[in-house]
Symmetry: C2
Subunit: 217 residues, 2 copies
Amino acid sequence: MPEKKWDRPDGVAAPTSERLSLVLRGLRALEAQGVHTVSSFQLAERFGLNPAQIRKDLAQFGEFGVRGVGYRVPALKAKLKELMGLERTRAVVIVGAGNLGQALADSRNFNVDGFKVAALYDIDGRKIGGKSRTGVPILDLATLPDASGTLKADIGVIAVPAEAALEAARILAGSGVPAILNFAPISVPAADGVFVRNVDLTFFLENLSFQLAVRRR
Amino acid sequence: MPEKKWDRPDGVAAPTSERLSLVLRGLRALEAQGVHTVSSFQLAERFGLNPAQIRKDLAQFGEFGVRGVGYRVPALKAKLKELMGLERTRAVVIVGAGNLGQALADSRNFNVDGFKVAALYDIDGRKIGGKSRTGVPILDLATLPDASGTLKADIGVIAVPAEAALEAARILAGSGVPAILNFAPISVPAADGVFVRNVDLTFFLENLSFQLAVRRR
């Protein structure tokens, strides 16, 4: 996604973050294979990245490599997790228990090392009290502000229709949730001190259409 | 998402595509408001983009602006749609009629100007023959290769569990679908001549965690 001004008040660019996510994934795989050291070239090769870019991304945050050795896998992994705030598990709450909300609650991508989906919230009495397929409880949205103290949610995901998205964002921000990931087809602006990432699924389709059009020429 | 090598064999970088998607969206809004000309500065301002970047993105593909006037809204919109292959409606098929597939089929983001979700495909006999909430038919995945001639699907979306994703990609590619958008939590490699865009939802969570961690320091 392109970065809108209000998406990154503190200036960690999304591409840097995404490359470091890939590096972290690589390190996890290497560790599982018992590999102890790795060069930026090997890391880059594994994920089709540029080795110089990896060194540059990491250099922004400190001195990680050992000259002539490369990176020590467990140390770099631990450092990267700490840098990205993944040394502890982040609680995620999802507003909207429709198809999208439940798909996200049950997704392996949302239940990986570092994250846990604590609850789905909805306003539909027929859904409240139920559970998603993998057992995430569906709670009454009206109870989110009260629950937020005990839940300590780090990330609120918006999976409601466009017309309900701004209200969902207001409730999340008002409940002290410091970061919002919005999948509704409308941009949610950042509130005071709340990070907002708007994901526009249309961009992915448009990108593929663009690729097809360029190839045809 | 970071671009893996095989994500863009022809070299339209995703960030360029996404910025042009934003510009196109801006032009649509301006046209609806009856605005006839716009400067790169005004376009940039509207979306928190950099005006020089917009000029650079557009300049890659031709001469669009008129010196001292800026861009003519309807002409630039038409040109951009043509450039991005959106001058005609692209047919989208979705493999997997679970929560995610149905959410995508019904999403406003997947049913915008330029795209039409033609069908969902599944292997579950209890779903086949049904429809999504907005009326997208759920068809038998076994019939996709035969149907592809009449459907002329441009984009196949993978919304199945990780363990079924490679098979879904194989069926789509074998049915002549030239572009794949993969939401399964596993990377699908590009097949001959098929564009693949892997969307990893974990990256969005990791990016927000990173932002929170950086702010805390």
